[in-house]
Symmetry: C2
Subunit: 571 residues, 2 copies
């Protein structure tokens, strides 16, 4: 009845073969989350056999095209699972993305792609293959939080770059505003990126319009002068909306906060940049990796409507959709479609809390920031004509960190993955190329902020926070029967409570050997070539250290700590 049994029959326990398989790739195996080893002990033998076949397939492809496969990873914001790729559900929502749906139909439409619950976490996870708890990127980054992605984190761009890939980043990074977190310092050859989310667009004259639609408008310029407003430091406009730079080169501000036309132009330019980067590397016969993470919306209503829905997200998706068709056509026309893996996905669930119109729960309960399925299950699809069979809808669990390890495998870059830290991402090449039931993961650790909030294992889910203590809480869910997590039951708990306890224990004990790190802290916006005076001001301490009696460097550090303490459970 279900094709997932197909994979099972190939799985045999053989610890010897497992160790051989792990060591055959590199002298030192990748360090994975503790749970992975439980699965590997049971399936390592069949995985090794599959890998042999997969590697032959990849070698044949490289032989044919002369380079390892290109990778285009497109990831946008805040979209619930089911919102794209299933045309029936789009009709219910009053919009349509025919090109994205076609990509899904020509490839693989994942039904259980898990992400981290918010933007910064999710983007850090996919770029490093690690849960944000490992590297401190646990909070949604806002201006003057004085932090960002550590320079000693190894990104996908660095791993693939070492393997000879040309790398580019276009769109929303949301990984910090300190210099070491700049995308051109994190391994990308070319980068045009936003250090935050879409909020900077509200710092313009459109703030007034947005204020009528969103719960709040943040532009201080549209308020009358407040006689009780003593501290002008809270009203700074020095932050940056979009930056650009090349590896080793200078960084420039490309779009200022509040420049809505500039923002929209940049959204369009990123499409052109993506296609141009492809063309350039076709010419140079170089494999390429593009992280194109489009913004889709501006937190200000589009002036005219293209959908019946009219929701911000739906309008953004409808506007973005033709590019997906253009991209597929472009790859086919240039004869490299069969050597290019395209991944489309969202970064987390819909922003149901404080979000713009149209971002609501649909199939799953919860939204951005929540440990509920609605926060962490997203639409995701993979397209690779000739390599990924069309029309697949795998019911397997896959986590966004798996892309890190999977991309490294298909690029032949596994040896550049660092061995001194835990990599949560699991190699899912077999799922991509063999299909339904070939996932190598049946679990997800779910953190909100620094809080270990919930665990998924197969069909079961356990919450660790937010419920009554003891058996009365009964925070155990069967996700087949209770997709929306509204009927916690003791019965799934009876068989799984002890298992979940052991699972968490080994996850945490393994962390003692490979400890977590904190986010990097510092002053923002340093070394921007065309920095405005207010940006330069913002890049310096707000006070001369002689003006205040306390240690401002200690305050800076503590500010970061506060950010970490404040967990966002959402519900």
């Amino acid at each position: 009845m279900f094709s997932q049994y197909r994979g099972f029959i190939h799985r045999f326990v053989s610890l010897g073969a497992l160790l051989f398989a792990a060591t055959s790739v590199s002298a030192k195996p990748i360090v994975q989350d503790a749970e992975f080893y439980i699965l590997k002990a049971q399936h390592g033998d069949s995985w090794a056999k599959q890998d042999d076949e997969l590697n032959q397939k990849l070698a044949a492809l490289k032989e044919k095209f002369g380079t390892p496969p290109n990778i285009v990873h497109i990831m946008w914001d805040d979209t619930p699972m089911g919102e794209v790729g299933i045309p029936e559900l789009q009709k219910l929502r009053g919009f349509s993305t025919p090109n994205i749906n076609q990509l899904a139909a020509e490839g693989m439409n994942f039904l259980r792609m898990y992400t981290e619950p918010s933007c910064t976490q999710s983007r850090a996870a996919v770029l490093t293959g690690r849960h944000p708890i490992r590297n401190g990127m646990t909070q949604v980054g806002f201006p003057y939080e004085y932090g960002g992605l550590r320079k000693d984190e190894v990104t996908m761009a660095e791993v693939l770059g070492k393997a000879g890939y040309a790398t580019a980043f276009y769109g929303k990074a949301h990984l910090g505003d300190i210099e070491q977190s700049y995308m051109n310092k994190q391994g990308f050859d070319e980068a045009v990126w936003e250090p935050y989310n879409q909020f900077p667009v509200i710092y313009g004259p459109q703030a007034e319009i947005a204020g009528g639609v969103l719960p709040t408008s943040t532009n201080p310029e549209i308020y009358p002068e407040d006689p009780y407003d003593m501290d002008k430091g809270w009203r700074t406009l020095g932050h940056v909306a979009v930056m650009e730079g090349k590896k080793g080169g200078p960084v420039r501000e490309l779009v200022q906060p509040g420049d809505l036309p500039g923002w929209y132009k940049n959204m369009e330019d990123n499409k052109t940049r993506t296609l141009s980067f492809i063309d350039k590397n076709i010419e140079e016969k170089k494999p390429f990796y593009i992280a194109y993470w489009p913004e889709l919306i501006a937190f200000v209503p589009f002036p005219e409507r293209k959908t019946l829905s009219g929701g911000f997200l739906q309008e953004g998706l409808a506007r973005f959709d033709p590019f997906v068709g253009q991209l597929m056509t472009h790859l086919k026309a240039n004869g490299i479609a069969e050597n290019t893996l395209v991944i489309l996905m969202a970064d987390n669930g819909p922003m149901t809390h404080n979000g713009p119109p149209g971002m609501v729960e649909t199939l799953y309960r919860g939204g951005k920031g929540d440990y509920l399925e609605g926060g962490i299950r997203v639409p995701a699809m993979a397209w690779w004509p000739g390599m990924i069979e069309a029309g697949q809808t795998p019911g397997d669990i896959i986590h966004e960190t798996d892309l890190f390890t999977t991309f490294a495998h298909i690029a032949g870059a596994q040896k550049y993955i660092p061995r001194d830290r835990i990599i949560d991402g699991i190699d899912q090449t077999s799922l991509l190329l063999n299909g339904d039931s070939f996932s190598r993961r049946d679990y997800v650790h779910i953190y909100t902020g620094e809080t270990y909030a919930a665990t998924v294992k197969g069909r079961f889910k356990r919450r660790w926070v937010g419920d009554l203590p003891g058996l009365s809480g009964a925070s155990f869910y069967d996700l087949y029967n209770d997709t929306r997590e509204v009927q916690p039951k003791m019965l799934p708990g009876f068989t799984t409570k002890g298992m979940f306890n052991s699972m968490r224990a080994r996850h945490e004990i393994w962390m003692e050997k490979y400890p977590n790190k904190k986010m990097a802290y510092g002053l923002p916006f340093t070394n921007i070539e065309n920095a405005r005076p207010e940006t330069i001001k913002a890049s310096q301490p707000r006070f001369d250290k002689n003006e205040v009696p306390f240690d401002i460097e200690k305050v800076l550090k503590k500010t970061g700590d506060y950010g970490i303490i404040e967990a966002d459970w959402g519900i």
Copy 2:
């Protein structure tokens, strides 16, 4: 972008043509709900043109096959929209109905089929083409409520029977236990039916098992003798689980309450009866109409599991699914598939309140009994090879009462629809044969019990009950943007409040001309040939009228009134 515009361009306002079209079918036009005339005034002209084409098509089909089209209407219980027909969603729920999904793929999968919110209401509506408010079938019928479907209601079986159709009813009727409501007295040539729902199966030894799964078990026999239980009249077992009879013939009890093996056997027998009835009428060259309303479950867990879900509903659907394949094969093999319309659907949303495991909200909020979309939007599909184009997913609104009027049209039986009462059902032949955007309805009146609870008009929905009064309630929803009805907004209310007010006013004023009727009352289970002694006892007044000082006939009538007063809003 959306194909619904297709229909719109054919729509012109022409009142003259409209009146002509209405009168050309019969001397007297069918009386419809007030809202219909608002649409007809705008679209009557194009509808008339469409009808000419449709009638030519139907005439050609009759010419080819010698009879008007056969109709098989399959309707089961308590299933949320999306639970069948969209394979991706079934994977998320851990079960699969490949045959039902194939039927949907070969035909039309409705995305906005509305029903009444509970079993009795829904079944009365589809059989009479009228909202239950019109004929008093507003409550879920339980034993000793002394009521049922009025004999002066004109059922689908009576309309089609007059047009020469052979008619059969198999399964769950839930339309009362008084003699005039018996299915063989309501126009069916053959009938095997349950007067209530599945609860009678709990009156057996399995009650104990069910009690461990469901909130309550109702069999008095498994309780110890209660020394304070003075009134044994509350513990009667005289009611009937399944009855059978032919038109004009005697009625017999076929399955007794608590007879679980008998219940399961009858579930299987109904499949055989359906296929045999088809064969018999093929032989006799008679068109047939079968209302096969299977039970699927028994309110007792199935002894073994066929699905990963294990939910009662999912198990029932998985077990029923092969029959759908068998039916399609049977119709094709006998060469009558192209002359047979098959409709598959559920009767209302999932029984989320007090229901068995597996009945939960999925896409929509609310369940059985609720005026929320989750209570009244069901999976529904139409299959008619050669007449209904494959692969369609119309986003149009259709209501289950429309089947009454539509079946009458395709059967050439419109003249037998009574003209002395309001028929809520609208002729949707054009939607079936022309597809997306060809619905003749953009509204739904939603009653729970006798309460007018909510109104749907296109993308908008208004609640009339359950919210704060005045603007603070803001009970206006945009169903594209807020599929789950959790963000009531004043903005859709600003443009639609007045329109909704007028709509309700004309709906109610029209009722003054064509008044609603009450349910029929009486003593249950009269004239059952093989009645058990306790059934005979139950069919008589509980007390001799000399034993009690009050008028027992007045009490009986009042009992019915109480049933009506108690509305079930669900939330």
